[in-house]
Structure formats: C-alpha cells, structure tokens
C-alpha cells in the first residue's frame, strides 16, 4: 500500500531518501549514544552490577516471578474463555429478560479498570492475592471474549442460522453446532491478541502485591540494594516483552494461515480489532 503513495523513486528521490535515511539513522544513533553515555556516567555498565546474574538465587527468584505471572495468566485464560462463551450466549439470547441484563453487566465489566476489579476482590472478599489477580483478569477478559465471539457470530451469513433452524435444530443447538464453531474460528486472531492483553495485565498484580515478575524485581532491588535496580529491571522487562512478542507472533501466524484457506476459514476480524485495539 505505502508504495502507491509515491512514485517508484528516481535517481534524485533515491538520493534524497538515502540522505534522509542516513540523517535519520544518525539522529537515532546519536540519541541512543546519549542515553548510553548518560547511563555509563551513572555507572550502569560496571561489571559488578551485572555480576548478580551469575548468581543462581537471582535467577531462581526471577524464575518464580515468571512462574507466578504465567500461572495467573494460564488459570485466568482457562476460566475466562468458557465464561466468555456463556456470556456471549446470554448476550445474544432471544429473550430480552436475559439479553438486556447481560448487556448491562458486560458494559459494566468492560468499562472498569482491571486493577480496580482485582483490588475489589482482594478487599471485599478477603481472598489471597493470586485469587484476586485471577478473578480480576477473568471478569474483564470474559466480557471481552464474549464481545469478540458475538462480533464473530454477527459476521456470519444469516443463512447459517436459518439453515440450522430449517433442518429442525433448536435455537440453542444451532448456536452450539452451527454458529459458535464458525465464529470462534473466524475470531481466532482477535482471541489470541486478547490473550496477549491478558498476559500483559498480569503485571497489574504488582499493584495488589501479587508476587509476579515485576514484584520480584522490586523485592530483589530492595534486598540486594538499589544499584541493582536497573540491571534487574532491564532483564525482567526484556523477558516480559519477549514472551509477549512470541504470543503476538502466534496471533499473526494464525491470521496468515487462516487467510490462505478458502471461505469458511478464518476471515478478517475487522469488528473485534476495535475491541482489542488498546490495552
């Protein structure tokens, strides 16, 4: 697409673009060099500060943090998905008495900061931190999953449901056997993208003092001394970002694989892109 915006560059434009690239790269490199030299003046790159990563206990603490992060995310995802399916079925029910209250609940859950829900569960129900984190993640993400799957069902051709009802399936059977399987497949890229959001949001556990990766960083910095804060933070942030980029890549891969298939495969998930756009 971007190539349509401008001509295939001629010799003059190529020169301008090359100069632009060089100047741009120099500016970015200069900025990086400035940051690195500022950091170096703070003594960030002294070997002594990074030597802590040769210690096994530092890695085992980091490992515990990663384990806590991943286990909260995994438990939350496993509970949130079926709950999202259920909420979706209630949300598109034929009975207004079910549909409208569900809609209000979903709007409420989606309009709420996740950290507030974690805090709510922690204080009002007096649970431990793990349950509070998982509950906050489940409530929010089940609502988002429900909206994504609903968008998937609405994007199906009307004939799918009509055909299902015509051959004598009940409304519920048609939803379960005809529409949901197609909708979930269509929305797979958005659902996986939402998993990245869920994984990212486990870091909110830091705020309710759940011992996840970022909390581990804080604990180690308090324990070992603040001069180690930057190295530990840097490594932990890199781990977090690497995990998230991997899951994002899986989403992109599923989308590519799906779009190669013929009709009935995974379609472009336009409506749900809105839902998962941020956060």
């Amino acid at each position: 697409m971007s190539s349509v915006l401008y001509d295939v560059p001629g010799p003059k434009a190529r020169r301008v673009s090359l100069i632009g690239s060089v100047v741009g790269s120099l500016l970015i490199l200069g900025l990086l060099a400035w940051i690195i030299s500022t950091l170096a003046q703070q003594g960030i790159f002294e070997g002594r500060r990074w030597a802590i990563f040769t210690r096994a206990d530092v890695w085992s603490l980091l490992g515990n943090g990663i384990g806590a992060t991943l286990s909260a995310a995994a438990v939350a995802a496993v509970i949130a998905f079926p709950l999202g399916l259920l909420l979706c079925l209630l949300r598109i029910s034929d009975l207004p008495a079910i549909r409208i209250p569900t809609r209000i609940v979903l709007e409420f859950l989606r309009g709420m900061p996740v950290v507030l829900m974690m805090f709510f569960v922690l204080l009002v129900f007096g649970t431990n931190q793990f349950i509070a984190v998982v509950a906050g993640l489940v409530l929010y993400n089940a609502a988002v999953f429900a909206e994504i799957i609903r968008a998937g069902i609405q994007s199906l051709p009307k004939g799918q449901r009509e055909a299902g009802l015509t051959i004598g399936l009940t409304s519920f059977q048609s939803r379960m056997m005809i529409e949901l399987p197609q909708a979930v497949r269509r929305m797979m890229p958005s659902l996986v993208a939402q998993l990245v959001v869920l994984l990212k949001d486990t870091s909110l556990g830091y705020i309710v003092a759940y011992g996840e990766l970022l909390r581990a960083v804080q604990v180690m910095a308090d324990f070992l001394g603040t001069q180690f804060l930057f190295p530990i933070f840097f490594v932990a942030a890199a781990i977090y970002i690497a995990i998230n980029i991997c899951v994002s890549r899986i989403a992109v891969w599923i989308e590519r694989r799906g779009s190669k298939k013929a009709a009935g495969g995974v379609a472009k998930a336009e409506p749900a892109a809105v839902e998962t756009a941020a956060k």
């Binding site: 971007s2 309009g111 950290v115 507030l116 870091s203 970002i241």
Partner: protein, 216 residues
C-alpha cells in the same frame, strides 16, 4: 453510602485528576501516534524502521512496566520530576501512542488504492496525497477505534494511582484503607466515577461509528 457522600470532595478531586491525566496524555499520544504512523508509511527507510520498532516494543510492554520505568527507574537514573504526574503522563502517552499509530496506519491501509492512484495521476505530491486525499478518509475510519483507545487510556490511568499519583484509584485505595468497614461502598463509588467517563465515550464511539461509516 455515607462514606461516599462524606468524601465527595476527594472523589471529585480524584475524578478531575483522572480526567486531567487522560486528557493531557491523550493529546500527546494522538500527536506522537500520528507522527509515528506517518513515519511508518514514509519513503525514508530509517523512519519506517524506527516507527516499527517503537510500536512493536511498546505494544508488547505491560503498562505497569512502563510506569515502573518512568516512576521508579528514571529517577534513579538521574531524571528527577517535580511531580509524579509527569512520570504518569510520560508512561501513559508513550504507551498509548503505539496503539494510536497502529490504528491510524490500518486506517491509511483501509483507503482503496485507487484513491491514491487517482490523486497521483492528477499530479499531486506525496505530501498532498497524504494530507488532502488519504488522511481525511483514513481519519473517518479511524475515529471509532481511536475513541476505544481513549477509553482504554482512561482505564489505564488507574495504574498511576499505584505510582504515587492521587487520582481516582489512588484516592479509592486511600479511602478503602481508612474505612476498612465500608470497602464495598468506597470501591463502588470509584467504579461509578470511572463509568461516568467510559460509558458516555463508549456510546459516542458507537454513534460516530454509525454516522461516519463509509459504505464501499
């Protein structure tokens, strides 16, 4: 219920600070995000690469990490702030800009190729094609997702409450600690004020979506 009415001034102050944080970060993020999106489609390879790297990294960074960096790591590195609001605004706008850049870029990509071709065939330059033809159309498709990003921004600003900024969530935490017996009412009050921002914005998003939708 009494605890909400008694502390209404605190709620109100927190509400205003949440609005302030969201508004300032929103404006900065919109500007930065549009610049990043423009860099992403520009002919200069270095700009494209920079924009791509920025978006890829920031989109995969948990917001709490961004806040931790701005509020706790940066001061240790010698960047001192007068107020922690500045750190919160840095974290929020840097984070949100990545999402805005992606939304604007997919908006640019949603404009049919023929539009750009037609514009170029009547002799427009790159800047003219972008400013007069592509961006006005792209912005219409982009507005509903942008509003959704801003809703997320309002909700995300609650993380600031954990990093020394007294906004809605920060006051909520404080009140919950000092009124241990009425936690439920305190937090429902906080929830109400968040909904006061997010629900109207959500209705606005779906109205705008219906109004500006272009049938192609």
């Amino acid at each position: 219920m009494d605890v909400i009415i008694d502390n209404l001034p605190l709620y109100w102050e927190g509400f205003l600070r949440t609005l302030f944080l969201s508004a300032v970060s929103g404006v900065i993020a919109l500007l930065l995000g549009t610049v990043l999106a423009a860099a992403r489609v520009s002919p200069v390879a270095a700009l494209r690469g920079f924009s791509m790297t920025y978006v890829e990294i920031l989109r995969n960074t948990p917001l709490t990490i961004a806040f931790f960096f701005a509020a706790i790591v940066l001061p240790r590195l010698g960047v001192k702030f007068e107020q922690f609001e500045v750190a919160a605004i840095i974290a929020l706008s840097a984070y949100t800009a990545a999402f805005i850049a992606e939304a604007v870029r997919s908006g640019v990509n949603s404009v049919p190729v023929g539009q750009a071709e037609a514009a170029r065939s009547i002799g427009m330059k790159f800047s003219q094609v972008l400013n007069l033809i592509i961006l006005p159309q792209a912005l219409r498709t982009v507005i509903p997702p942008l509003i959704n990003i801003l809703i997320a921004l309002v909700k995300n600003s609650s993380v600031a409450g954990a990093f020394f900024v007294l906004e809605l969530f920060g006051y909520g935490r404080q009140l919950a600690n000092s009124n241990g017996d009425q936690v439920l009412a305190v937090l429902l009050g906080v929830a109400f004020f968040y909904l006061l921002i997010t629900v109207p914005l959500g209705i606005l998003a779906s109205t705008v979506e219906r109004k500006v939708a272009i049938v192609r």
